[in-house]
Subunit: 381 residues, 4 copies
């Protein structure tokens, strides 16, 4: 059996998706059908053509509608800039396709909820690419939390900081303009930490946020003296109350000097603490109050075959997995779901909950007040 | 010349103060007068007597008023439980003494402001024991900030977590009851991180806080089945806006598993970041965007003779200073101020500003709203 | 153009090689011909058949000679157990094939030198799979050394420790028997650290070693009460003199509790030090004496686009590469060499030098004396 | 009761000793007699006079013989340059004094053995200042080893590196000339790591060493163009066999860029590993194979009241002790021994064993061969 894939968006992320399908198959296959690359579209004909040739698609186009309407395509894979996710995903659902949409699902809670409901109705596989959820470290940590090994959960303290946009000479892009991005560091980076939080602790009840735009204007193009306004947060700090009674803090920044891919979080419970940093992707730090007190301390646990997902790559602990391997696990889960109906985590409802939270955070920042998450988007998911 | 000290409170902290005076003298002396230990008082006659003998006081008493009225005493050193600081400090000032008061100055912004004004009026040395300020690491970091090496400051992210009160079997103490403590983890631990923040970044403008009492009741005595209510925060999370435009988050907890003396903070500027953790007291991590990009990363700088205060202890870098050495530097600064009129940082005004911030944080937690710090205590300092 | 590959040995390492070819092509291609998988052989028909199907070979066999004689095959890829490398590589060379041989080249310096000479004579691409050499971290470190940024090199201090064979209940395998393995931890793990050392510092002049067999006997099969002798080193410590005047220590162990993939090394020069650990694969620690002394410390540099090889995977620093990515870079270098004649590092001569060093180490351990490396194998390479 | 101390040598180390006595008394006293500072001698009258005044001695002299002959003196404390230790210690023993000698005991195994025998004969307290032995971390680690928690010991891997003498412009001193120093980094730094090794693992059986002089000549005085030869090791690497069957490596360097006070060691046993670095003095890393494999990793244990010696300073874990605190524990052990006859570790025999090992290491370096430790100094201790 073949699983035929149509790709919308032939940039770095689109290629990353296709490479992930290839590696999922060579690591896990042939447990399920072989991914076959049917059509690729991009607004740039050259980009589409190159990806077509390099990664072995059957054909290419500059019209994404051809992809969603292609009868041979089983999965529509959306890797466009964020502002187009909603429209393409909706059309793909309308054509009865399975949909694999890079995060975020849309730029608003309303649209994301609409897509989640529609996907449920259609009964297709609907997958949103919060790849960090698939990190074997997070599966291990969720297990620590759910097994009760950390006791009752007290708090979640998460950060996702980078310095990718620290340089004030970098020109303005779609990321700085809300009609294209929805928000700044919050949607780009904060949503990843929210995905981990949603996965492990469940729903956030209410939030209050303090954003900051550090670089208020940027050149309209490299080297230009003409400046345009940055409309959204370079940095945002958030307090959160979880439905399970835990408290939380979240920090997202795209202007944090020295922080490269600093997705970190700490979860404290009454019987232990766990800490993780994506910059040291292969190690989890965990502390158990039950250890003998003279010998008690944070343990640095290297990922290994005991941790779900890892053994797809290596037979022994401590051999480093990398970022792309998270995407491989994501592609694997998706291919399993499509070919065998296995359950998966990051469905559109999961994505819509994150967008509800993002929406509440933005409102709390604007109103400088605590905002409930549940009714964002006009509906409770 | 002798500098004669009267001590009120002969517990662990009182002894720590006296040991610090002794070591200040043997490390820095004889640049100034020799500290001489005149009178020690404690509600426990035995405690007073023991300290008198062990540390070489001339006499002891159970009546603290004898200390503040003792004509031979130059400095009244207050190391009682927090609830008594105000009364003793006030009486000492009324008697024209120099006052060395362990933190906090009092349990309310009002009282602290009163003491600060009174001390200024009297013209005596007035010192509050925020010992972390004296850490050579903090002097180095303040210099990094003030020299502009980190650019314009964006944010301050501070934590002080311990697990000292995590065990639910530990009985209730004065720390859990507001009339004795004012607040929970906030006043006990959070105030230390506030002191560092005040020292390096200056005033906080407004705050909003989310507290949590994790262990809601505790035995009235060890092993007792009778329970009493814990009245204050085991854990508190705070967002802050600084007067200089920076944003901040602060977390304080006395129930954080595995965190022993986890006072950490990160300061990000437009040209660099600095990170510090008291658990690794002798190293500062600093990142400069100006470093050549291929070789750029956080530097782990070990404290050494270039960093103010360190050379009192050791002639070369990397030889570990310890917690007590911060108190030695504090005692040294105080002895210098008394004998030579040198300037010092942690005066009563400094302490009152921290108590104003604590007061605003408590109000923000109660009202679930942003609160301005300035007018707490009914007056602007 | 196609580059047709014949694989000898269909175990974990063989599959790892083929996956590396696939990923090299999808990351770097189509700069060179597409790797095509022609024939796979294994003593196990089932293993050969499975790999044939899963990874897309045209045919399979149980007779490796069919692979080396296959006229369609351009590259013979050898991933058998170590003891068979020599025979297969020799036959492949005799048939005029390019050869990609997993490390080590053979079990003796003599045989490796013979292969190296033969390969040079034949003028084919001859590549030995010391994958750590291809780590972008090592390329960066070699550049630090060769550029003179660390001054004159004083010493190299390397370790490769694992605890994979710590459990005494694990049965005896070919790794414990010298006619199959040549040596123990030395050949298995130590050779990797020697490859890095050879790459960065060049030839070792003389060595003295102290080996230790910690678990002297093992069950002949899982759970058996019958025991067989372990013939070689579980752990070995080595002193080394380099031709460039530097001194070195090397430690290799397969019985080091808690060490999972602990390949670490430190290189000290008169103007700086660099440290690396494969367990934290994405970060290099480097210290420059030229930094301003108050701000001087080891820098934690995350791998990024400035470091050779990294940008094949990610566009920004701090996104984790993993172990397999080293094999991808190796496959890339090999495919480039075959299709475009580009130079490469890990040729058979490079591999033979490592085997010469291993041979001298074993002799030094037996004779308990310093041994010169150069004349091992009866000849100077 | 008073314990009267006479100090020979009023430099930094002499003052450090006296401060340690003062702090031992104020931390542990009055369990034993009060240390009283009777006489201080130094070749520099000014140094002697200053220490006399600052630290409260009764009198001073430039003639050390007055100290050892002073009838009021109970303990002769020797803190001269190394070359004078033997002569002063011998005279002190002849006068029946307790002797506290800074390390090393002498510059040769012969002289140290002579002192050890003489001290035993005299029945006095004889203490050599290997302060690292008194570190609470080492007491904890020794307990881990001796309790069998790490299984059978396999290896000891120790380093003591600094960069204090890396700068080639620093002029020649007594440390570079063998008649004053005996050896270079080996005696100065390596002896400290040997002391820890001797304390925890016991005797070394045989050694082989490779030394290196990195900076072969130095100015005779600061800025001078006249150069003098450096006679001894800037760096030395050593392989060792222990009497208990373990193997070891030792590295000592005074020219290791970035290493400030890098005394580190790792002990591996069949059931666990422990690692320690003095640069992070308050934490010990320990790994137990008995931990559940999914949650297994090195634990970072902060020193606390459970670890011997720590509770003298602080009531809770994670409050940093510093370098001087090791000297305080040393002074405490000595005062206990003198006043109450309690046992102690670092006696002259312990010191002589280290000097025997140093002697064997030097011989092995000269002869480039393995040397037995036992018969160094012409006798077996």
């Amino acid at each position: 059996m073949e699983i035929r894939i149509g790709l919308v968006g032939a940039g770095w992320m689109g290629k990353t998706h296709i490479k992930a399908f290839i590696n999922a198959f060579i690591n896990f296959g042939p447990k399920y059908g072989k991914p076959v690359f049917e059509t690729v579209s991009d607004v740039s004909a050259e980009a589409a053509k190159n990806v077509c040739k390099q990664l072995g698609f059957s054909k290419w186009t500059t019209d994404w509608k051809e992809v969603v309407q292609d009868e041979r395509v089983h999965i529509v894979d959306i890797a466009t800039p964020n502002a187009f996710h909603y429209e393409v995903a909706k059309a793909a659902l309308e054509n009865g396709k399975h949909v694999y949409c890079e995060k975020p699902l849309s730029l608003s809670a309303e649209q994301s909820i609409e897509l989640a409901k529609m996907a449920k109705q259609k009964g297709v596989v609907n997958y949103v690419g919060y790849n960090n959820v698939m990190n074997p470290a997070n599966a291990y940590i969720k297990d620590l939390v759910q097994s009760g090994k950390l006791g009752q959960i007290i708090g979640f303290f998460g950060i996702y900081s980078q310095d990718s946009l620290l340089d004030p000479n970098l020109p303005i892009t779609w990321r700085h303009i809300n009609k294209y991005s929805g928000s700044g560091a919050l949607g780009d980076l904060g949503s990843h930490i929210l995905s981990v939080s949603q996965f492990i602790l469940g729903n956030i009840e209410s939030v209050i946020a303090l954003p900051k735009t550090v670089i208020k204007q940027r050149p309209v193009s490299p080297g230009s003296l003409e400046l345009a306004d940055v409309e959204n947060d370079d940095l945002i700090t958030i307090l959160a109350k979880y439905e399970n009674g835990a408290v939380g803090t979240i920090l997202a920044s795209r202007v944090a000097p020295g922080r490269k891919n600093y997705l970190t979080y700490e979860i404290q419970g009454t019987e232990g603490t766990v800490y993780y940093s994506l910059e040291r992707m292969n190690e989890v730090k965990v502390y158990f109050t039950s250890d003998n007190s003279a010998d008690r301390g944070f343990r640095t646990v290297f990922l290994g075959p005991e941790h779900k997902g890892y053994s797809a790559f290596y037979p022994a602990a401590g051999i480093a997995i990398g970022y792309n391997d998270m995407k491989v696990l994501e592609a694997h889960e998706l291919l399993s779901a499509v070919s065998k109906g296995t359950p998966y985590i990051c469905d559109f409802e999961f994505g819509a909950k994150i967008d509800q939270t993002v929406s509440a955070i933005l409102e709390s920042a604007a109103k400088q007040n605590w905002i409930n998450v549940r009714n964002k988007g006009g509906v409770t998911i």
